[in-house]
Symmetry: C2
Subunit: 355 residues, 2 copies
Amino acid sequence: MKILNVDLGDRSYPIYIGIGLLKDKKIITSHIKTKTICIVSNTTVSKLYLENLKNLLDDYQVVEAIIADGEEFKNYDSLNHIYTTLLENQCNRDTTILALGGGVVGDIAGYAAASFLRGIPFIQIPTTLLAQVDSSVGGKTGINHLLGKNMVGAFYQPQSVVIDLNVLNTLDKRQIAAGLAEVIKYGLIWDKGFFEYLEQNIDNLKQLEFEHLEHVIYRSCEIKAKVVSEDEKESGIRAILNLGHTFGHAIENCLGYGHWLHGEAVGCGMVLAAKMSLAQGWLNESEFDQVKNLISRANLPIEKPDIPYEDFIGAMRLDKKNKDKEIYLVLQQGIGKAIVTNNYPSSELDNIIKN
Amino acid sequence: MKILNVDLGDRSYPIYIGIGLLKDKKIITSHIKTKTICIVSNTTVSKLYLENLKNLLDDYQVVEAIIADGEEFKNYDSLNHIYTTLLENQCNRDTTILALGGGVVGDIAGYAAASFLRGIPFIQIPTTLLAQVDSSVGGKTGINHLLGKNMVGAFYQPQSVVIDLNVLNTLDKRQIAAGLAEVIKYGLIWDKGFFEYLEQNIDNLKQLEFEHLEHVIYRSCEIKAKVVSEDEKESGIRAILNLGHTFGHAIENCLGYGHWLHGEAVGCGMVLAAKMSLAQGWLNESEFDQVKNLISRANLPIEKPDIPYEDFIGAMRLDKKNKDKEIYLVLQQGIGKAIVTNNYPSSELDNIIKN
């Protein structure tokens, strides 16, 4: 088992990464200080792990809030189901929320914890590769709004994160690929050596070799923790974590949530961002090919889906990074470095969206 | 004009208290660092002050979100109207929310600011006496849930609070009385001298003499700021600010929001808390009479409305202060001091609720 401490002053917490942790009572409960636990999960994940988890937690009063599975249910109705469950069971601040699921469950459950009674503790048990490398660090919680993704939420840190590699065995190939998109992102924005490691080991990762997975999950969380600890509330450098997301969110928004997986949209978005970087001369042709090839080898889409220009640019205008009605993009400066910028000809962005 | 600085480290902010501040462009805009402003108000208050305020803010892009007037609209629908307004107008983090209204507007607008894009700045312009002495300090924002009051929200501090005494001229007597309930509370929990000042000046206050009002608003905010700065997240002493609220929330909850004003329920709740304190020997008969008489002279109800026991106690069980299924009460220890306790015979609580 590896332990990574996310250093955020009095909001610091550990991430445990290992095999079989979902059956490790000590690891799961060591950060629970309350008498009551509310497990939040979805209809798919709960079938796999809920009973086992409840058996481990027999010293606690346990209630459960099960939401529908899918990004399209990352909304107020699901959130309200959690509030209602908590209230119907007379849960108060002596309650810890335990998020058992992928990114959607983690984001909604985390936001429920942030907002119920103005804040109760929570613990993340991410069950997808994407959630393990993305939602585990950063404290971003929230829900979608009809008019935009992740528009409502809070920065709120968990008490601990428990990552069990075993859960990856139940994921299908699309979900593994979606997780690899975020892993590749960390190489692109921060660590050329890690990117090269991924180029060498992408097939091992796709085949779920735990030794390699443990390393890339640890390193991904470590890079994200480094960025987040420098800028917890996203006023500056943290925005580089959004590489591929400005395009990706627009894709998800225009196609309707649930058609493409978030990681697939991000994968394609990173190719579009690389195209913009190539047009600026910030990536050369060979580097661009490296980016596109690794994303493709990870089984991610590299071609923009067919979306009308006005819809696409309209969705991009809603991005949280924007200022003064200008669209800010995260672009590469070589492999291993990224910047947030509006310093590009808008005609080039138009070209990329129209093609 | 008086200025009170609420000291919360990097979340500190000033409260401006004076006559005519709603027409003072410099005071209102001095803490606005964004290009866009979203004014949140209700249908009643906006008729009185919105046009004037918009005229003052002609250097900014201004959008407005007007919600229905009343505690029964302190819900997700009203909150979502603000989100939708912000999104339809492509507002991003370069937007300040300006809350123009009473406690309901302040709480919803503050929570919209806390949660939209995970947090944008906001400014409070409270237009009721209750909001001026209560919502101005403490950073409590939120909405009601069908199953309980203020169950969803965030601790979130404004950039500044602007209190214009002139707005009190438009309030009816019930609203002034409701505000005086919270003012009396500060005397009861913290400052016997202030309580005695109120005994001497309650008629002047009811007649809206600005000199006395400015003093009691300042002193009320000052006491609340002192308590809050010691315990921002309500893990300890801050709960004494809940004097009268455990009973009061149950009254509001059982009668249905909007029948009694919040301050009226709190006024009656403080009498019930004083009865409990009397039964414990923590108030003597004469002190109990002082409490009851001042609340009565403030035009507040001192008799519990007719509510079935099971409903009342059930509502009290939902209180956020409770731990281990026990009902915690804020009780007096003499006039000017309060404690949070579950150390009372439950039969005495039953007696008071049943009578």
